[in-house]
């Protein structure tokens, strides 16, 4: 027996509503994705100018590198496992409905944890979650209460804003960072990571985040952001440009030049590199480098969060697209079934009437 007409009608309505919602979400995600990308790209000139300055500075000064740029000797602990005091930063979204976006990242993080034998309960390890999903995941893993903190727009990084550490192992979360993160919002995160590094609470910081490669492709990337190295910074700045899509051509336009390594005898950079020793550095190379390193870390984290945000929206767009496609398909199948059973009902009624009329003769 086919489903009743009322039932079919009800289901049809439900499917139709879902279709509308998912379609709307798809469109919203698409616009947000583009906007996130635009913001990320707008910071490229800054990134390259800063890197340029760093490379200039490091060539002229023969001073010791600032602590942020120094690699520390990582000693394995008593059991020969682990890699010293490390902070792991996991960047996810706050909300779900983004397909496999969060799952893919958390799965990769877990795989990495097993491979590197990271002990979630080891006091040497600190975990920082960016996004609700990461906070939930890490809470479950570490068995700690996540101290959540929402950075506010337009707030200057005050030391008091930054969550305090619980003794030994700790878990901190930055949630509801939201779309189109501002520099002021990531400042507390950067402040926390750099100050902990300088106070020798940890020797390195590893970030798990999603890299936006194209609207259809996002990869999970593992990056060591502290100690800072020039190559790593450069790589992040270059990765800001997606491989395909609207912004891919920007590489070619002159406004955003790709970074060219200042090697002698390689065009425009040669003259400037010869004259470099003449630079006057105020107040002192050391102080400028210290300051610059802190800025670079902030910039790097800003980029990471923006990339993750663009990826989140891209993933959500794809998920919503397939959801609305499925809903359309289902809706078509349902209306066919509805029409069929309506037709069957009419045919049956006609048969009954004609049969009734026949029997009266």
């Amino acid at each position: 027996m086919a489903e009743s007409l009322q039932n079919l009608k009800l289901r049809q309505k439900g499917v139709h509503n879902i279709n509308q919602i998912t379609k709307a979400m798809e469109l919203v995600a698409a616009t947000k994705m583009r906007r996130s990308q635009e913001i990320a790209l707008a910071s490229r000139p800054y990134a390259f100018a800063a890197l340029d300055l760093l490379s200039n500075l490091s060539r002229i000064t023969h001073e010791e590198l600032p602590p942020l740029l120094q690699k520390r000797e990582v000693v394995p602990d008593a059991h020969g496992v682990g890699a010293g005091r490390t902070t792991y930063v996991v960047v996810t979204s706050d909300k779900g409905l983004a397909g496999s976006f969060n799952n893919a990242l958390l799965r990769d993080f877990e795989k990495y944890a097993t491979r590197e034998r990271i002990d979630f309960r080891d006091p040497h390890n600190t975990f920082v979650a960016i996004g609700q999903k990461a906070a939930q995941f890490l809470e479950k893993k570490t068995g700690l209460q996540c101290e959540k903190f929402t950075p506010l727009e337009k707030s200057r990084p005050a030391a008091a804003d930054v969550p305090r550490e619980t003794q030994g192992r700790s878990l901190m979360g930055f949630v509801r960072v939201g779309d189109y993160v501002s520099v002021a919002q990531v400042a507390p995160i950067a402040h926390l990571l750099t100050s902990g590094f300088l106070e020798e609470k940890w020797d390195r910081v590893i970030v798990f985040s999603t890299n936006f490669r194209s609207a259809l492709r996002q990869d999970v990337l593992v990056r060591e952001i502290l100690p800072v190295t020039f190559e790593k910074l450069k790589k992040t700045a270059e990765e800001l440009i997606p491989e395909t899509g609207r912004f891919a051509e920007l590489v070619k336009t002159h406004r955003i030049p790709l970074f060219t390594s200042p090697k002698p005898g390689e065009g425009g950079f040669t003259e400037s590199s010869k004259k470099i020793p003449e630079y006057l550095i105020e107040p002192a190379p050391r102080e400028v480098l210290d300051e610059l390193a802190a800025h670079l870390v902030l910039m790097e984290i800003y980029h990471l969060v923006l990339e993750a945000n663009a990826s989140e929206h891209a993933a959500r767009r794809m998920a919503m697209k397939s959801a609305s496609d499925n809903a359309s398909e289902l809706s078509a199948a349902l209306s066919l079934e509805y029409n069929k059973s309506r037709q069957a009902l009419i045919t049956r009624e006609i048969i009954e009437i004609t049969a009734g009329a026949d029997s009266l003769k």
Partner: protein, 82 residues
């Protein structure tokens, strides 16, 4: 001389200018054309740019860096003041 001011949000200024006045860690300085190469740290304050048409532009900054190179180019990377 050529000036470019970059912030993480956008390019604040790009073009030919007559002078740049800003507050650095060593005090307030004005950079004119053909200044000697210099790298300095900016302090919270306002960067005043006078362009070739004597028009003045102001950019409040929280922190940042000033780089003057030998090719008569000035680069400022700045954190905008909120």
């Amino acid at each position: 001389m050529k000036l470019a001011i970059y912030s993480l949000k956008k390019v604040l200024y790009e073009g030919e200018v007559a002078s740049v006045n800003c507050k650095t860690a060593m005090g307030e300085i004005t950079v004119l054309a053909h200044h000697r190469p210099l790298i300095s740290v900016l302090m919270p304050g306002t960067v005043k740019v006078t362009d070739e048409a004597k028009q003045e532009h102001y950019f409040p900054v929280q922190s940042g860096f000033l780089e003057v190179n030998a090719m008569n180019q000035v680069k400022i990377i700045a954190d905008e003041a909120q």
